[in-house]
């Protein structure tokens, strides 16, 4: 009896004692807001719960050149906020040692609803995506091993990893999960179009005429609310003789997937030019002319484009007005998505 009391006493003491040990504070949970009327996201938040500390760590990593071999190519060098996180004004993006990417950098928006990533859908999880540009010799040209070495030498990163994940250990998984926590928060749902849908604003006449034309001629592939149905389609863009990009067939091996690419989202289309998987369309007008005039219909052309896409100049004018309503200025200028310390620039030297 005496032994049981002593052992029970020791156990109770230990339990109470652990309550007073400082294990570090738990990270602050972040809520992922699903815009009204949108479907549930597909990203598995259970495996990677959103926290403020995880988001801030992911943001710092996103803007950090050290994830690249020579320090010049953070994720943000190709994914620029003012271009909805696409590469502004570049058909292909710059990579290490004067190289170029082989495809146009897509906008990063509403990623939590995507099941597959890249123009050919080759990446099946958001956490896995950064590995591709990080290790590609014509992009960031770095190894995860080196990144971990660089970050581990930085006391600020060690502290941020501890705050986000509970210990200062920096691993492949944690780096990717932190980046995902930042990226899933890049939600664009406050364009003029969105406000009109919520009854908070009204289209002007050209915009509303353009919306009607859009629903009739474009929405089968560029479906609302994401302005893509996430499918892979062949819209008869002839294969570039240098890039020789087979599209989805490279991933599935299926000949019927030749020259199929993911339908891109048209949100923020006004700022994500050039267009197309290789950025060959520098202006929206080039896209319209492809669909109404230049495209050559063949046996593998998507069934919805067998008769091309007739568009009059009038319709193009209205469509353009509508597409401009997909620009979400709040998203493009949100300081939460800007580089850390963006609002705290270093002091300017006063010269008198």
């Amino acid at each position: 009896m005496k032994w049981q009391i002593i052992i029970a006493g020791i156990l109770i003491f230990l339990v109470i004692a652990t309550a007073f040990t400082n294990n570090g504070s738990k990270p602050t949970p972040l809520v992922f807001k699903v815009p009204t009327g949108w479907p549930q996201p597909v990203y598995d938040f259970k495996q990677n719960p959103l926290t403020l500390q995880g988001f801030e760590l992911g943001r710092k990593l996103f803007y950090d050149g050290r994830l690249s071999k020579d320090g010049n190519f953070p994720c943000a060098s190709c994914h620029q906020q003012f271009a909805a996180f696409a590469t502004y004004d570049h058909n292909l993006s710059h990579g290490y040692d004067n190289s170029f990417t082989t495809r146009n950098a897509p906008a990063l928006q509403n990623l939590a609803w995507q099941k597959a990533f890249m123009w050919d859908g080759g990446i099946n999880h958001l956490d896995a995506q950064p590995l591709a540009p990080i290790t590609a010799p014509n992009e960031m040209a770095e190894t995860v091993e080196n990144i971990i070495k660089k970050l581990s030498a930085d006391a600020e990163y060690r502290a941020m990893f501890k705050a986000a994940f509970g210990s200062p250990q920096i691993t492949t998984q944690r780096i990717m999960q932190a980046l995902s926590q930042f990226e899933v928060m890049l939600v664009s749902s406050n364009s003029k179009y969105d406000k009109v849908m919520r009854g908070e604003a009204q289209f002007n006449l050209p915009e509303s005429l353009g919306y009607a034309i859009f629903k009739q001629k474009c929405a089968s592939c560029h479906a609302e609310p994401f302005f893509t149905d996430f499918s892979y389609r062949n819209n008869s863009m002839p294969m570039d003789a240098v890039l020789k990009d087979e599209g989805r067939m490279k991933i599935t091996g299926n000949p019927s997937d030749s020259l199929k690419f993911k339908v891109p989202s048209l949100r923020n289309v006004a700022v994500t030019e050039p267009y197309g998987h290789d950025g060959r369309f520098f202006f929206l007008m080039n896209v319209f002319d492809h669909y109404r005039k230049n495209m050559v219909v063949g046996p593998t052309t998507d069934s919805l484009l067998k008769n091309k896409l007739p568009l009059s100049n009038y319709e193009i004018g209205q469509l353009t007005a509508f597409l401009y309503t997909l620009t979400d200025t709040a998203f493009l200028k949100n300081p939460r998505f800007a580089p850390p310390n963006f609002n705290n620039p270093p002091p300017v030297e006063h010269v008198h």
């Binding site: 598995d44 890249m118 080759g122 999880h125 896995a128 590995l131 290790t135 492949t172």
Partner: protein
């Protein structure tokens, strides 16, 4: 006080007996001899001479059967064997040494782990067994040189993977064991030369490279599923 010491001693004996394991040991071979990386030249079935620089494979879903044919549960872990790192040759299984009738394991990584994002430990993409552009694990890797290769520097490189049902390169290996005593170590040879012969003989001249899932990867997996042989049971 004496009872306390007896209790502690008893606990140590019990814990100590749980700490005994069965070891699954893989030895890289080239034919009948131990594989020597880089320097030694071996001949494939097609008569193509090879030197081997890298030889790795994932071992997962290990099962053992007792003498009654009953499967003994083993905690599901993933192990990466690498011929250049002898520390990876030995897999300790948390099972009591006992008489066994068979051991089985999968060369590959199941589809769940291929679609669930970034993993840790032996499945860390940093280990170089993960395709970044077409998400999925490389189940087995064989790289080296051959004068028969048409590639620059006469290299050959086989990265075999594929988890999707129409290009599944996962292979489950069954090895019967005839033990008349308690087993504590199972030593299995993994013969690199088996990669080159099977229903579809592999010619370096014709196919020096395999870097994506598909038909060639599945054929190579079929070949190397015969690379294992029981060497020793202790």
């Amino acid at each position: 006080m004496k009872q306390l010491y007896m209790l502690m001693l008893g606990m140590l004996v019990v814990i100590g007996s749980f700490a005994q394991k069965i070891h699954l040991k893989f030895i890289p071979l080239a034919g009948n001899t131990s594989l020597v990386l880089n320097d030694s030249i071996y001949q494939t079935k097609a008569g193509e001479p090879i030197t081997v620089r890298k030889f790795l494979f994932y071992v997962s879903h290990i099962h053992v059967k007792d003498v009654h044919g009953k499967t003994i549960p083993v905690k599901n872990n993933y192990y990466l064997f690498s011929a250049s790192d002898t520390a990876t040759w030995n897999i300790p299984l948390p099972i009591q040494p006992q008489m066994l009738s068979a051991v089985s394991f999968t060369i590959g990584v199941d589809s769940i782990k291929n679609v669930s994002g970034i993993q840790t430990g032996a499945l860390d993409p940093m280990l170089g067994m993960f395709w970044t552009w077409n998400t999925g694990y490389i189940f087995a890797k064989l790289e080296g040189n051959s004068t028969a290769s048409p590639l620059p520097q006469q290299t050959f490189s086989y990265h075999v993977g594929g988890y999707k049902h129409n290009e599944n390169a996962s292979r489950t290996i069954h090895i019967p064991i005839n033990s008349s005593h308690k087993v504590s170590t199972i030593t299995i040879g993994a013969n690199v030369l088996s990669w080159f012969n099977g229903v579809n003989d592999l010619s370096i001249k014709a196919h020096p490279l395999c870097h994506s899932p598909g038909k060639l990867a599945m054929q190579i997996a079929d070949n190397y599923s015969n690379m294992f042989q029981l060497l020793k049971v202790q």
